[in-house]
Each structure stands twice: as C-alpha cells, then as structure tokens.
Symmetry: C2
Subunit: 341 residues, 2 copies
Amino acid sequence: MSKLRDVAERAQVAVSTVSAALNGTRPVAAATKRRIEQAAAELGYRPNLLARGLQSKRTRILALLFPAPRSGFGLTEMQFATGAAEAASELGYHLLLSPENADPIEELRHLTGLGLVDGVLLMEVGLDDERPEFLSAAGVAFSMIGRTREPGSIDYADIDFAATARDAVAHVAGLGHRKLAFFNLSTDTYAAQYGPAIRAEIEFAGAARAAGIDYVDDFRPGSAEEGRQAFEELVAAHPDVTALAVMDDHAAVGVIAAVAARGWRIPEDLTLLLVLSSARVAEMFHPRLTTLEPPSAELGRLGARMLIDRLRGDAPPQQRLVPCRLVIGDSSAPPREGRTV
Amino acid sequence: MSKLRDVAERAQVAVSTVSAALNGTRPVAAATKRRIEQAAAELGYRPNLLARGLQSKRTRILALLFPAPRSGFGLTEMQFATGAAEAASELGYHLLLSPENADPIEELRHLTGLGLVDGVLLMEVGLDDERPEFLSAAGVAFSMIGRTREPGSIDYADIDFAATARDAVAHVAGLGHRKLAFFNLSTDTYAAQYGPAIRAEIEFAGAARAAGIDYVDDFRPGSAEEGRQAFEELVAAHPDVTALAVMDDHAAVGVIAAVAARGWRIPEDLTLLLVLSSARVAEMFHPRLTTLEPPSAELGRLGARMLIDRLRGDAPPQQRLVPCRLVIGDSSAPPREGRTV
DNA sequence: ATGAAAGCGCTAACAC
DNA sequence: GTGTTAGCGCTTTCAT
C-alpha cells in the first residue's frame, strides 16, 4: 500500500503539504493541490486509518452494542444495525458490531478503553438502563435507539408511541369500531420494563380515551397458545369488542386460530392489528394483517447520525420520535352488526 | 487512559518488558511479571488497539461485507452477523459491519486499503461471485458464508444441501409419501444464480431419485399469489402429489390458502415442508410447519473462526458444510388414502 | 504557501 | 531476563 511519503515524493512536496491538501487542513496552492491529487490518484493512495487515528484520537469508528438475541428477536433489530451502518458509511464512519455479554458495563469499559471507537450506539435500551449513566460518567459519546424512563438531554431516537397509538385508534374508530382491545408483549417482557411494552400500553389507553372509544387491555400473551387463551378470555369478558391490537406476533397466530375455531372470520367479525411488527411478518398471515410497522431502519439511521453530530460537536443533543407506519392489510374492516358470540 | 509507559514506571521496568509480559512475546521472570500485571490492573491499563495495529500490521478487526437488504432478507442474514460477531469476540477479534453498495469490488478495494481490517468475511456469495477472486488477487485474507460454483481451496462454510435434501426426503418417505413436489425460490432469484436456489434444486432431485420416490419441481413462486397459482398447477398436473417442500415463505402462505380453498387440510391432505426458513417463521403458520432450518448462526460462527485460523496461519483452508436442522411441526403426516382432487 | 520535525502508543529488533 | 531504540503512517506545531 502506498503511503503519504510516496505521494509526497511523486508530487515533489513535503508530507505535511500532502496531508494538508488531502484533508483541507490548511490552504494549499491550487496548482500544488492538483499535482498532489493526481499523484495520490495514480498511486491509489488510501490513508491508513490506524495511523490517522493514533495521531488524531479520532478513528471514525462507531460501536453498535448488540444485545444477546432474545426470543422475539428479528428483523427489527437487524434493521437498526443495517440502518445505522448505512448512515455511518454515508458520513464516512464505520460501524463495529459489538455483541453484549452478561455484563454490559464491563463490556463497555473494555470496548471504550481500547481507543478503537469514537462513540457508542446503544440499542434495546431499558427504562432503567444503567449504560447511559456509565457512558456519561466515562465521558464517552453515545446515542440511543430507544430511551430510558427520563432520558433528559441525551441523543436518542425512539418510536413515537403516542402518535402510533393515535393512528391505530383513529384507524379502527374511523372504521366505526366502538371498542378496542390491546394485547401487550409477554408478561416477562412487560415485567422487565421493556420500554415499548410500557409506553405502548400507556399510549393506547390514552389514545382510546381521547378518541372516546371503549378500551380493554391487561392481556400479555407471549405465545400462540397464550394468544388463543387471551382471546377466549377477552371474548368471554367483553363480547362487544370488535377490534384488537396485538403486539406479539406469535400471540397473533393464536388469536387467528381462536377466531377461526369459533367460526368467526377476519376482518368481518374481528378487526386485527399487528403493532410493532414488520410488514414482512404481517404478510405471512392470511389474510394479510394491518400493521403498525416500526421505523427500524430509520431509527438506526437517526441514531448513527446523531452520534456523529455529537462527535463533530455540532448541535445540542437531539431527541427524535418517529411514529410507526400504518400499513393497511386485509384484516381491518367496519364492524359487522349482530355478530353472535 | 493510562499507557504502557505508565505501567512500566509503576512496575519499575522498561516498556518492552511490560509489552512482553502482557503479550507473552518473550520470557519474563515470574516476579517481574506479577509486578507488571498488578501495576496494569491498578491503573486499569488497556492496550491501545490503534497503536498496536499500526506497529504490528494486525488489527484484529474483521469486516463482514453486508449486502444491501434484498427482499426476503431476514433473520437468516442477521444470524450470520451475530454468529460471526460472537465467534470473533470470543477469539479476541472485532467485527465491522460493512454495508455493500452498488460496486462491491470498489467497496472492497476501499475497505481493504484502509489498513483497518485483517480480513474479510463474505456473505450472500453468488455462484459466479467476483469478490473471492479479487480478494485472492489482492492478497487479502477472507472466508465465505456460501460458496461459488467451484470454490476450490478457499475457506467457506455453507449449507450441506445434499444432507438437507436427504433428510427432507427421508422424512416424507418415512411417513409413506410416494411423490414429492418442490417449490424453489422465485424465478428472479433462481435466474440470478443464487447458490441455495440452484443447489437445493439439484440435491432434492437427487435425493428423491436415490430414495426411489417420485418427484416434481420446476416451480419457482416468489410470492403468496404465485404460491397459490403454482399449487393449483401442481395439483392439476400431478394429482398424486401428497408432499410439498417450499423454499419461499411467502409462497408457502399462498399454498396454505390454496389448500384451504379446496377444502383440504394440512397435514391430512398435504404434507408441507418449509425449506431454509427459520423455525421462528415456521411458527407463524397454523399449523406450525415442519421446517428445515438453516444453521445460520453456526455458519456465521464458522466463517469467522475459519478466517481467524487463516490469519493465524494455522491450518490449510477449510470447507465446512452444515445441514439444516429438521424441526418437525404439525404440517407433516402420513398421506391419506383416497384424497379427492 | 510550504517544509522539517516531533510525536501518538505500541512492537520488535538488537544489545547487554 | 531486561533495557534501549527505531520505527509503524499519520497529523500538527513551528519555522521559513
């Protein structure tokens, strides 16, 4: 690989001039600059990132802290990663995929001590996550996909649950439904204070209230079987429910089976919405489900961009909320009068 | 961050001794070594990877070349990445997620010119992929997940299509089926010479022949609608088919709808297998489909390990084939006598 | 506007 | 077994 000195020799100038010309660090005569650029092109010169980083203390590498795949892990998480990698790449940065082990704080301490990364991108941020605090204290730049309970003035990109719930409720209310039920993520996930589970539950209740339609929640099925069961309980307790929003896609499988088992049909007898699941998953169902698709790639992109802005010292920390996209499928329709339980 | 010199001062030795003690590069007296280790621990010393890499020409960073998400992109690709990242991490390496743009070769030239990575991990390798050749010529270490038509003596980990097909055929033949049909990936994917599409088609035909059961292929539905259609055509032309293996999960959705539309049931009237789709996707179906689940994370792991072995100069290039795992669901059963078309 | 030279933190000869 | 020293390729003063 040719180096700065080779370019300097070929262009008949000093290395520092080449460095300046290529980085725009200081004024260089137009003619000189052209000579240098040509020499660099001819030699196929590529700056050595290690040497540059060693000197400048900036590697232009970002780390994406990747949690150990939990169940229910899927496209969404992957899209965070690819979105972030793309945005980083466009801005001249690289993305390191850093799997998180049992002790995330120790992992962070290790990773940031290496001098390898300029900043850290956190995903799967819990409401009481301790990582942000650690990073702040350590003086490491970071941004989050998701957010803690009280994120304060920190860079983050998260789903706009309020808008998402509003859109979902408006959709079913607009179809004429008067009573909506909500199935959250599994009990375990909810108990673990997983942000989306908590926030979606709050916002759906609020949106239903604001729209003036009846609302039931308190169901947290995490599997097909639990979904089936929850649906039976729901119908028994609230036979007048005509629309249902489900967070967990396995639970949705159970709901659909239960609906079919009682001879009901979707969407005639029940409007079914999948919340926070990708359209690709929704297409696996028959009929194709109406979905509130999370803007995963966009969040990944935003997270990376924010972090890079922070490193460049540009603006103050940003907080960005992006709503899910309502993708209307074949599972929503006006309620049918006189459905028999 | 404390550096080598700080440790040296605190332990009252020369920097080179510290380096040697910490890296085991040359013999160090036990007592000295202990002093050094203690000093390092007290200072929370972390080696600067950039400095080390600049000097040693080895960064212990691997790049995973990540193709632009095509449709049908999902869990599998993500598991390559996480598997590779985990394996790398366990062996003291880091994994850079490098999104590929329109010109993969140029991308590679750029990436490898930076001096940032020791080697490259290729995924989504096409039968006529030009990247391996480029990397070989450039003298860059690499390994592949998947393989070209004639990979030769190159490190790769791929699905064992022969074993997978054999297992699938054995499963349906064992249930008593006498005629199996095969739906490949979409026509486009097949035309693009996507390895799995080509190899699976060949091996299923071969396995059926070897097992002595009748076999039909030549269907390549890439969507639910195409799946429905293909199934209708299949039944019209081959009413005696009782088992079907499908590669594309959207096509499977169409097949299931078509089966239901004619009043048939799975598995009573048709045994349905999903090939190369994750068990998580198979669970989205009702009934839960029998699946041949690709060993994605394992392939990612193997790919990373092979590459690291290569970098360490240990063994000769390895070729590893891993069969899919047969996960038996509720969609396979013995054929029913006297099914009416 | 350009050049010379001093490191960034580490490894690896080479001496002793 | 341990110390001294010369770089790795780059950025960045400081001269000129």
